[in-house]
Amino acid sequence: MAKLEEIETEEHGETTMSIKMRRKKKKYSIIIPTYNERLNIALVIYLVFKHLQDFEFEVIIVDDGSPDGTQDVIKQLQNVYGEDRVLLRARPKKLGLGTAYYHGIKHASGDFIIIMDADLSHHPKYLPSFIRKQMETGASIVTGTRYVRNGGVHGWNLIRKLTSRGANVLAQTLLWPGVSDLTGSFRLYERKAFEDIISSVVSKGYVFQMEMIVRASRKGYHIEEVPITFVDRVYGSSKLGGSEILEYLEGLVYLLITT
């Protein structure tokens, strides 16, 4: 690293310290909450390691006491990839998504936090595009969006698409969030932005994701989007019933009033 002169002034806007930090390689912490993802988590880890070969990263898996043996598979993965890169930080039982991220970040050592799902609906091949977008634009948050032209969804029937689109239009009209995909959970955050926002979020489930991005938008963080494709639940089942719709509407009203 080049030695810099002791006499630098604040006119240049940068001190020795910040130039040194810029030159240091950035580390990315990927937090993946899991519950009963015994098969999918192994596939996800393989793909993450395949696509992030040029970057420094760690994967933190927050497992909520899965009864199907997910943690055993993770321990086998640790033997293959190393315990310094695949971290298992388990919890005794299902304690919720928001607290899972909170738990994960306490063990994270990266400059950036990436969150994604364990069920292969988020393909790790998009991770480099998140990182590149952040480096190009200097954004604090990069969020994946399924609803733009280069993105897309596979495995949804017409009713599902209708509810998704209706929900999106409603949220855009009421909240003016500045992003096209509010409930997406494939995102990259700067570490301090993540810690700042998560401290003021109280919602659970997917409303948590909405609240994170809306609060980030209100606080003025620079948010960028990248298109991602979403292949719904290869193994397993996902439900969208009346209670989810009600939860969504309650979340919208809550965000409308409190942000």
Binding site: E6, Q76, Y147, V153, R165, V231
Partner: protein
Amino acid sequence: MVEKRRIERRGEDRRRKVSVDVNRRCKKDRSNSLQVIVVLTMKHILKIMALVVVVAGLWIGLLQTSVVPRSYTWLLPVYLIISLGCYGLLMVGIGLILFPTCPQEAVLLQKDIVEAKEFLTSRGVDVGSD
């Protein structure tokens, strides 16, 4: 030794002068930017209520000055709400027609899964299906 100390002191004075200038400039801009900051940091619900108040004011103004015949003016809010609803439905419809899909991604994903399973079983990771 003396030369070095003189250079350091000059550097210090330069830094102090720059920081004083920046403070002075900040105080001048503060009053202008204060108004912008108030709008930007207003709660979202207040922004919407402000918009509603403006629209209501316009409506009452129209009622008072009777530029447009009274009977129409009374129904304007209803027209507004109906047109908003129609716009919403149009947006949903257009979005549904133009909903981006990616059937090829499912095929690619299956290929990735096969590749992953091969590698992992060769390294002793249990990838049997649930």
